[in-house]
């Protein structure tokens, strides 16, 4: 996909360079059409393709943890203890490992991707212009919503047949009771105590 975009960019670049050096060729009707393709259609396609590539890339785990503050969160996915929910999901491929952060933290509402991008830009601003917070003090704005969990788990047989889940379903759906902070699944990234934890190595 990136290869296709790159060849499109290079073709557009060659045409734009040709018109930069010899703009006079557009006196010919044929070259007028080439100019329209090279200076309007292809660059517009490069914008769309570039934006799409950047959005897909920003969903990758290695993109998220390339920010210094997120690095311990990335390491926490390798915690060798199944009580830690993110590590358990990541290591057992309950979420796609390459997009593990996005799978649990994306806003799945209709304007969610736009809100996610706006939040991401705010974080980049904080990282490079303001003072970045300590990793352990980072909290999700408004708390972790059950919708993130239910997006995958709702309707899944082992989840729905669990008597605890089925009896609490109404409270879970309305966010009255949190999956994470109500004492059921409270072990998440635990970046405060990573020094004392054992880590799983995928090669072993």
């Amino acid at each position: 996909m990136v290869g296709l975009l790159m060849s499109q960019i290079i073709l557009s670049l060659v045409l734009a360079l040709a018109f930069l050096i010899r703009p006079g060729v557009t006196a010919n009707v044929g070259w007028k059409i080439v100019a329209f393709i090279g200076l309007c259609i292809l660059p517009a396609m490069c914008i769309v393709g570039g934006m799409n590539t950047h959005i897909v890339r920003s969903e990758q785990r290695r993109f998220c943890i390339s920010c210094h503050a997120m690095e311990p969160y990335g390491r926490s996915l390798y915690l060798d203890d199944s009580k830690f929910l993110p590590a358990q999901h990541f290591q057992n491929h309950r979420v796609p490992p390459d997009t593990a952060c996005e799978a649990c933290h994306a806003d799945y509402s209709i304007y969610g991707p736009l809100k996610d991008k706006a939040r991401g830009l705010t974080r980049i601003f904080v990282q490079y212009v303001s003072t970045p917070p300590e990793p352990a003090s980072i909290r999700i704005e408004g708390g972790f919503k059950n919708g993130q969990c239910l997006h995958c788990h709702e309707g899944a047989r082992d989840f729905m047949e669990n008597p605890v889940h089925s009896s609490l379903m109404a409270s879970l759906m309305s966010n009255q009771m949190s999956c994470l902070t109500s004492g059921c699944h409270d072990a998440a990234h635990d970046v405060d105590n990573l020094k004392n934890e054992k880590f799983w190595s995928p090669g072993q």
Partner: protein, 74 residues
């Protein structure tokens, strides 16, 4: 000077220059795997390419016809 008196070549030069610059920024942003690469593309690359396209479209509307001298030179 009236905008319609401007030669189409001038518009095309400016438009091509902006597009070349924007595409170079886009290539850099695609080769650089970093959160700032998104910002570079979204705010610098898209602005430059977009301006280039607008200048080209403006040339279609506002640029004056080529003079007799220009016609003979091409």
């Amino acid at each position: 000077m009236k905008i319609s008196a401007l030669r189409i070549e001038k518009f095309l030069r400016v438009s091509s220059f902006l597009i070349v610059l924007g595409l170079v920024v886009e290539i850099i942003s695609l080769l650089w795997f970093h959160p700032l690469s998104f910002v570079l593309f979204a705010f610098v690359g898209i602005t430059l390419i977009g301006l280039g396209i607008l200048v080209y479209l403006a040339s279609l509307v506002f640029a004056g016809p080529a003079t007799a001298e220009e016609k003979t030179s091409t």
